[in-house]
């Protein structure tokens, strides 16, 4: 198996796992209202976005080689 495919698979699988936990964290944080919780919500949302970006890269949709 060539190295690029391996990296793609690791990145894609990792993005799915991390993304799942990030969305779960966002869901659990949602009802909380303290200042640091509000910030955590923003951070988790952006983290999810990051996972989506990595996922599109792994599937070859986006990204410049």
């Amino acid at each position: 198996m060539d190295a690029t495919l391996l990296l793609k698979i690791i990145a894609g699988a990792g993005a799915l796992v991390v993304g799942y936990f990030a969305v779960k964290a966002l869901y659990e944080e949602w009802p909380k209202t303290a200042l640091e919780d509000q910030v955590t919500k923003i951070m988790m949302a952006l983290l999810t976005l990051g996972c989506v970006i990595v996922l599109t890269v792994a599937f070859g949709i986006a990204g410049k080689v």
Partner: protein, 194 residues
């Protein structure tokens, strides 16, 4: 400072904590402006350039960076889980997750070091190298500081500096780590995807 935290009344602690939290968030905003300024510089130079990256400059490897990003994003999740474990008074879990975060952070830095040594542009070679190494280097420095921060709070937590309700150092470390993660989302997009 944190050692004194256990000696003051609850009301006073809450007040001081709210000051520190707000001050820390302002610091993070200010820090993100620092990154924004360099990102603006990068986009400006890029839009003024006829081709990107400039002739003779190779882009850094995409898929290695993707894996490296997932390592860093994963550390963000473990950090969040560590904090949740602390809130639920599960000290063993907390220690495990925070060590995982530290390991992932160091892993990210190693990946970046590997990438740096295999890149065919220097930071004074072209404006691409200048922006790339400045921004990712600055971010890497933030990750390094974050790792030091995490090791410190881990040691402090083991030495009983924090208790169940007074743990601002942990909150600050968590927010800082999330911040470093989120900055990487922008940098990954700018240098590898866009």
């Amino acid at each position: 400072m944190a050692t004194h935290a256990l000696q003051v009344s609850d009301a006073e602690y809450q007040e001081v904590r709210s000051h520190r939290l707000l001050g820390f968030l302002f610091f993070l905003i200010s820090d993100s402006i620092l990154f924004c300024s360099f990102i603006f510089s990068y986009l400006y130079d890029r839009s003024a350039s006829p081709m990107w990256p400039p002739a003779g400059v190779e882009r850094p490897g995409l898929y290695l960076a993707a894996v490296n990003s997932i390592v860093l994003f994963g550390s963000g999740v473990t950090m969040h889980l560590a904090m949740e474990a602390w809130r639920h008074a599960n000290r063993t879990r907390f220690t495990q997750y925070i060590i995982a975060t530290i390991v992932l952070g160091i892993g990210f830095l190693s990946g970046q070091a590997y990438e740096y040594t295999h890149l065919h542009d220097t930071w004074w070679g072209s404006v691409f190298g200048a922006s790339f190494f400045t921004l990712t280097g600055m971010h890497g420095f933030h990750v390094f500081i974050g790792v030091c921060f995490l090791i410190t709070v881990l040691l402090q937590a083991r030495n009983g500096v924090y208790d169940q309700n007074r743990y601002f150092g942990l909150t600050a470390a968590t927010l800082y780590w999330h911040f470093v993660d989120v900055i990487w989302v922008a940098l990954f997009f700018l240098f590898y995807v866009y």
